[in-house]
Symmetry: C2
Subunit: 188 residues, 2 copies
């Protein structure tokens, strides 16, 4: 795969026990109070965001992002964002589009012709569907230094083996570890 | 904590989705065919094993290790090994002892007076009990580059939050990543 080729990345932030959301949806556990001396500091967030040209998310992730935007602003900027849902959602921003069709059609007819670097940012069920159908090319998992003990698991019900290839490991000063894997034999 | 102080390490090997054992107990998924160029090669296994002066395990982990020993030899050498179980187990080696009491008693009366570097190597339920009771000081999780999709989860039913402190991250040439965490506010 070259730098210029089309790529879908599943990006998740989880606890060490693989939980991406607490039952009450609170997000304070993201703010780790940890300090890892050998870690690196984060990339410049602006450079980082610039490389992503489309976000894809499920309806509950969208609704949660809208809720959070009331306090913190909309997290995904002006980047085109596709909400995969059969619900009757009225997008609250002009760069948001709702897609109610099949995921293979989404990838082949909407994403591939227009975008290069697509990030799927949740939720767990949509991420699992992309991995199960081999539509995602990479998994980028950021592990927060905490055990949550209950909540929504990133990969709990995927029910299918998938070989991975480790691409990169980054440990940050705040104790977060980012693991980047290629999904072997993906279809897109 | 100084180098000389007593320490209990929970050591687990899991898939990216946090599974430590497949339903059929097969272990071929441990032999990753992955190649991570930036990784390091493993430590000298002999140096590594020498630092551990006691292994603790549950009965099913013990029975599985005995089963594997028929093909590959006993994995834990002559290091004293304590099997925590109420079952009537007759140890197959002289360095194996069965303990049927309370875990706090195990730590305070059997482990602390005699050992420095205790490794708890499974199973999931015993590991979770040690973490829940704050009897373990460290978690060392080795992540294999695979999604298994079903099996026994390392931390599925722990049901309790636990803050961690990242101590170390090591990526190996075979695509395995070892994460080492301190369990904050442990009791032992």
């Amino acid at each position: 795969m070259t730098e210029d080729s089309f790529k879908i990345t599943v990006h998740m932030v989880s606890s060490l026990d693989g939980i991406i959301a607490k039952k009450d949806n609170s997000v304070s556990w993201f703010d780790t109070a940890d300090n890892y001396e050998n870690g690196v500091t984060g990339e410049n967030p602006e450079d980082f965001l610039k490389s992503i040209d489309c976000y894809v998310m499920g309806s509950r992730t969208y609704e949660h992002a809208i809720e959070l935007s009331k306090s913190y602003g909309w997290a995904y900027g002006d980047v085109p964002t596709i909400v995969v849902s059969h619900k009757n959602i009225k997008p609250e921003r002009t760069n948001i589009e709702v897609f109610a069709g099949d995921l293979i059609e989404l990838v082949n007819e909407k994403l591939k012709p227009t975008y290069k670097n697509v990030w799927l940012v949740g939720g767990a069920i949509l991420a699992q569907q992309f991995i199960r159908l081999k539509l995602a090319n990479e998994i980028r998992l950021t592990i927060i230094p905490i055990i949550l003990g209950s909540g929504t698991y990133f990969l709990e019900s995927i029910g299918q083996e998938q070989a991975l290839h480790l691409l990169d490991v980054t440990a940050y000063k705040n104790g977060m570890v980012e693991l980047r894997y290629e999904i072997k034999n993906s279809n897109s």
